[in-house]
């Protein structure tokens, strides 16, 4: 093991350290300063260490270890391979930024609550690390459930409010529906033989039909956690309910563990190098992914609660990741592993990118909430003046999520497009012409995202406060504190690094792809053209150089600036806005978030369920109210809830309250068992 711990042992140490921090925070009871000054910064340091270990593990062969924990005869197995290493790096690096931010964010929290939050927060982090390290179904499920429970308690931090309790319940319910499906999936993979280590599951030779059943169960189960349509309903409820750093953790990292699970089960346990993956699965994933992408962004566009809006964008981005994964499955299913590797790499890269920029955006939303107490965009405006630094970081996040070059969101969407453009290698005519349609979906979603973030940024940070100064806290809003800013700066730097130097990350992801499917992109193409160039296949086919792009765009912008400065006078006057000379303008005449979404509601009317209240002609203080609801509630969730109620009321008939009847039930059961089982 040498002086430095091996990545596996080191990661276990980090996870243990998180657990120690969680428990240690409880001991000096009532001492909030400990949680703020030590617990969160220590958690962040552990995160950085984990990121380094994960990065190292990608380049090493897989390691396994059996822990002397668990039930007798059923010990915990852990394993570190490139896939786990990549996700641990994601977990460590993103959580480091969020933990630093949390140290500043919770500064006004009462001490009793803060110690509890710190405990749940670090247990949550440790459980995610164990999910990624688990090498048997038993430890995986234990960690998975710990993750669900600890995050549930974090979501209901403000449990005094009924709305938050019901959001928490919805989250718990869907998480458990998913967990049941995952459990069943492991059961199917196991097939009644051997034990539940992942090695045994990998070795099991499944019938194609059973493999499909296992895949569908995993897709459903992990999809519920990831937030794919129509199982997404908990995201827009739970993310706004949780404190902002927790929202950032859940949206940035936790839903990515579901992507990890999907990749692990599909590409490793079922698929492996044996080629069990069927292209039909890929088409199913693509269809669901396309639906998720479009629904997510269209619903995001009509939200006015900032955190709900961001939650719907998480739904959208999960859809984009699913598009990449689906393409990978289609290509692998048809026997084109190299093209498949491109899809897989695009999906994993988007997973990392989304974790970074969505974490950043949720932290920015948290800072706004912190300094103004507001989540409703309709009340905001002009925040860039009070909080310029937060505005700067938020702008980076907004440009990154809108997939604009040269930031990171663009790179992964670029790769997904490139994967779709590989469709020409396919022989199957229908599939070959369908793949570009999914690329079209992605293009549409990307442009809609840009629209949505113009709305968010323009309404929250630009313009003027929409309410008069005596009624609005906005003019007094201060900027985020230093710790909050360091956290955001860390993630904003991540947006740049991932956007400007994609080739080094691609090499890493290529290792992950090779370790899973046995095939990857050609390293010659990746390496041969140098670190400046991103060349997934061949130079003549597709290339992109973010650094050159960035340098040129900065250079020409500066050149334009300097030329104008050099040759023209710099005379500048300040006056009132012109606005076509309209004399009686007030700040309430600006667009609100609902107004900005109006064209979208007009164009895509049928998919929304809207309830709109217009002011009457005599109103002296006209107010406009709009409620847009998710149609899924009405065609899926409420009918299911009603059916469950009816079924349970029928079952309740069994409950008579008389002991003789219950004895009769036991008697009948006994007879039935004797007859049928023997």
């Amino acid at each position: 093991m040498g002086v430095l711990p091996s990545p596996l042992a080191g990661s276990l140490l980090v996870a243990a350290a998180w657990l120690v921090v969680a428990v240690a925070g409880l001991i000096p009871a009532g001492n909030a300063a400990f949680a703020r000054r030590f617990a969160f910064p220590l958690g962040a340091a552990a995160g950085v260490a984990l990121a380094a270990l994960g990065l190292q593990a990608v380049w090493l062969p897989a390691q396994t270890l059996t822990l002397p924990l668990g039930l007798p005869d059923l010990p915990f197995h852990v394993r570190m391979d490139p896939l786990a290493g990549f996700f641990l790096m994601l977990l460590g690096s993103v959580s480091a930024g969020i933990s630093v931010y949390a140290a500043g964010y919770f500064r006004e929290e009462p001490s009793g609550r803060l110690t509890l939050i710190s405990m749940q927060y670090h247990v949550f982090l440790a459980s995610m690390a164990f999910v990624l390290l688990a090498d048997d179904a038993y430890l995986f499920m234990v960690a998975w459930e710990t993750m669900a429970l600890s995050s549930y308690f974090l979501v209901i931090t403000d449990h005094q409010r009924p709305a938050i309790r019901s959001a928490g319940f919805l989250y718990l319910l869907i998480a458990h529906l998913g967990a049941i499906a995952i459990l069943l999936c492991f059961g199917v993979l196991h097939g009644g033989r051997g034990d539940y280590t992942f090695d045994a599951l990998r070795a099991a030779q499944l019938q194609p039909a059973w493999a499909s059943v296992a895949f569908l169960l995993a897709f459903f189960g992990f999809g519920a956690k990831a937030g794919m349509i129509p199982l997404h309903a908990w995201l827009p409820e739970a993310h706004p309910a949780a404190p902002s750093p927790v929202s950032a953790l859940m949206s940035g990292i936790m839903i990515k563990t579901a992507i990890y699970g999907m990749v692990r089960v599909t590409f490793d346990l079922i698929g492996g190098t044996s080629g069990n993956i069927r292209w039909e699965w890929g088409m199913a994933v693509l269809v669901v992914g396309a639906g998720t992408t479009l629904f997510g962004v269209l619903y995001a566009l009509v939200q006015h609660d900032l955190k709900r809006l961001l939650a719907y964008h998480s739904v959208e981005n999960i859809g984009i990741i699913l598009l990449g994964l689906g393409m990978a499955m289609v290509f692998i299913g048809f026997g084109h592993p190299a093209a498949g590797a491109l899809g897989l790499i695009a999906a994993l890269y988007h997973t990392l990118n989304h974790a970074v920029f969505k974490g950043l955006l949720f932290l920015g939303a948290g800072s706004i909430l912190h300094s103004t107490g507001m989540r409703n965009l309709n009340d905001m405006g002009g925040l860039i003046r009070g909080m310029p630094k937060t505005a700067f970081y938020f702008l980076i996040g907004a440009l990154a999520i809108s997939a604009l070059p040269p930031l990171n969101g663009f790179v992964s969407e670029w790769l997904t497009f490139q994967a779709a453009l590989q469709a020409t290698v396919l022989q199957h005519g229908v599939v070959r012409s369908l793949l570009p349609l999914f690329a079209a979906t992605l293009a549409l979603a990307g442009a809609l995202t840009a629209m949505c973030f113009v709305k968010v940024y323009g309404i929250a940070f630009l313009g003027r406060a929409r309410e008069p100064a005596h009624r609005s806290p906005l003019p007094h809003a201060g900027d985020a504190g230093p710790m909050e800013r360091y956290g955001m700066a860390w993630l904003a730097a991540g947006c740049f690094v991932l956007g400007l130097f994609p080739t080094s990350f691609l090499l890493m992801l290529n290792r992950v792809g090779v370790s899973l499917t046995g095939h990857g992109l050609s390293e010659d193409a990746l390496l041969g053209s140098g670190w400046l160039w991103l060349v997934p296949t061949a130079m003549g086919q597709a290339s992109y150089s973010p650094v050159i792009f960035f340098v040129v765009i900065v250079a020409v912008t500066l050149l334009a600036f300097l030329l104008v400065r050099r040759f023209y006078h710099g005379r500048l006057r300040f006056s009132d806005p012109w606005d076509c000379g309209y004399p009686e303008q007030t700040s309430r005449m600006q667009d609100t978030a609902d107004a900005f979404g109006q064209p979208i509601r007009h164009v895509f009317g049928p998919i929304y369920r809207t309830d709109r209240r217009l002011p009457g002609p005599e109103d002296t203080e006209p107010r406009y109210s709009l409620k847009v609801e998710d149609r899924h509630w009405y065609w899926l969730y409420l009918p299911v809830a009603r059916a469950a109620e009816i079924v349970s009321s029928k079952i309740a008939l069994l409950q008579q309250g008389r002991i003789s009847i219950y004895l009769l039930y036991s008697f009948i059961t006994l007879i039935a068992l004797l007859v049928f089982v023997r």
């Binding site: 840009a450 629209m451 113009v454 290339s543 992109y544 104008v564 500048l572 300040f574 979208i600």
Partner: protein, 316 residues
């Protein structure tokens, strides 16, 4: 991949586009005036306007933020960059591999995002309205543009504009159905993205239906000049993309100085025709109601997708 003549060509082309772009706008305006039986302004009028604007005193609203201040330069920079990517005079330029068609669409999206943000910065009612409409048009035009470019990418097996143009320029002349669909879609996108009739009216001002003008309402003097210039470069870039995709004959190879005069002449001829055509379209059509714009653009999107499917069906 980069050589001294290549770099010389690259710089020459970028400067040429920036300088020639207002001329194209002047030509379109002149043609439109002739078609509408008006006496035409000088073809150099856009230059005079730019010179006038550069010499005026700039006015900012009191609460303008740095975004408002920097957007004109960013817009100009984005369009200048786009002018460097598009093979206007020659293919195989050294900068071309750094940004392919997806990145090109990304540059236009970046410019659009900043112009919409700047419009919302002052907090006026027209600014927000313009930003909202601009993004409405953009979210439909951008995917249609990508699909058009993908059709060409599928035909040439590459997303690099320079390779695409090389492939398309050296095929024998024939009518490819997929390219025909793509060309119609591209024309529709060009009209929408450059704020032309029937989506927007470039001559309108102070009208409730305006889109592009509402975005830049608060700008004046040198900032307005930069934006107007950027808009001219954008029109030029879009037209040359169209020429490069659908009529690439006559384009030179980078470093081949002898082919340059011919490439110049071919480009000038094609641009003159395209400009006159644009003026004709603007004279013949009327502006659409704003809520017909999504229909117009979704038609473009569907045509582009259809073109792509046609390519897979008939391989051509």
């Amino acid at each position: 991949m980069s050589s001294a003549p290549g770099i010389a060509f690259q710089i020459l082309q970028s400067v040429f586009v920036v300088l020639a772009a207002p001329l194209l706008v002047g030509w379109v305006n002149q043609c439109r005036a002739w078609l509408q039986n008006r006496s035409a302004p000088s073809i150099l009028l856009p230059y005079y306007t730019l010179a006038k604007l550069f010499n005026k005193d700039a006015v900012f609203a009191h609460d303008a933020s740095p975004i408002f201040r920097w957007t004109p330069y960013i817009l100009f920079g984005c369009m200048w960059l786009a002018a460097g990517i598009v093979p206007v005079l020659a293919t195989g330029l050294p900068f071309a591999p750094a940004a392919d068609i997806i990145a090109l669409v990304g540059v236009f999206a970046l410019a659009r995002m900043f112009s919409a943000l700047a419009a919302m910065d002052i907090g006026t009612s027209f600014g927000g309205l313009g930003a909202r409409r601009e993004m409405l048009i953009g979210f439909l035009a951008e995917p249609a543009m990508l699909m058009t470019l993908f059709t060409a990418a599928f035909m040439s097996g590459s997303t690099q504009l320079t390779t695409i143009v090389d492939t398309l320029a050296h095929r024998e002349f024939a009518l490819y159905p997929s390219l025909a669909f793509a060309a119609v879609a591209f024309l529709m996108v060009l009209l929408a993205e450059n704020a032309r009739i029937p989506i927007d009216n470039p001559t309108t001002h102070l009208e409730l239906t305006m889109v592009h003008e509402a975005l830049i309402l608060e700008y004046s003097a040198r900032h307005l000049a930069l934006i107007e210039w950027a808009v001219a470069i954008k029109l030029f870039a879009y037209m040359t993309i169209g020429i490069a995709l659908f009529a690439p004959w006559g384009i030179a190879d980078a470093g081949d100085w002898s082919a340059l005069p011919y490439a110049f002449a071919a480009l000038a001829g094609k641009l003159a025709l395209a400009g006159a055509g644009l003026a004709l379209i603007e004279t013949l059509l009327a502006k659409l109601r704003l809520f017909l714009a999504p229909e117009f653009l979704s038609t473009a999107f569907l045509l582009a997708v259809l073109g792509m499917l046609t390519h897979f069906l008939v391989k051509g």
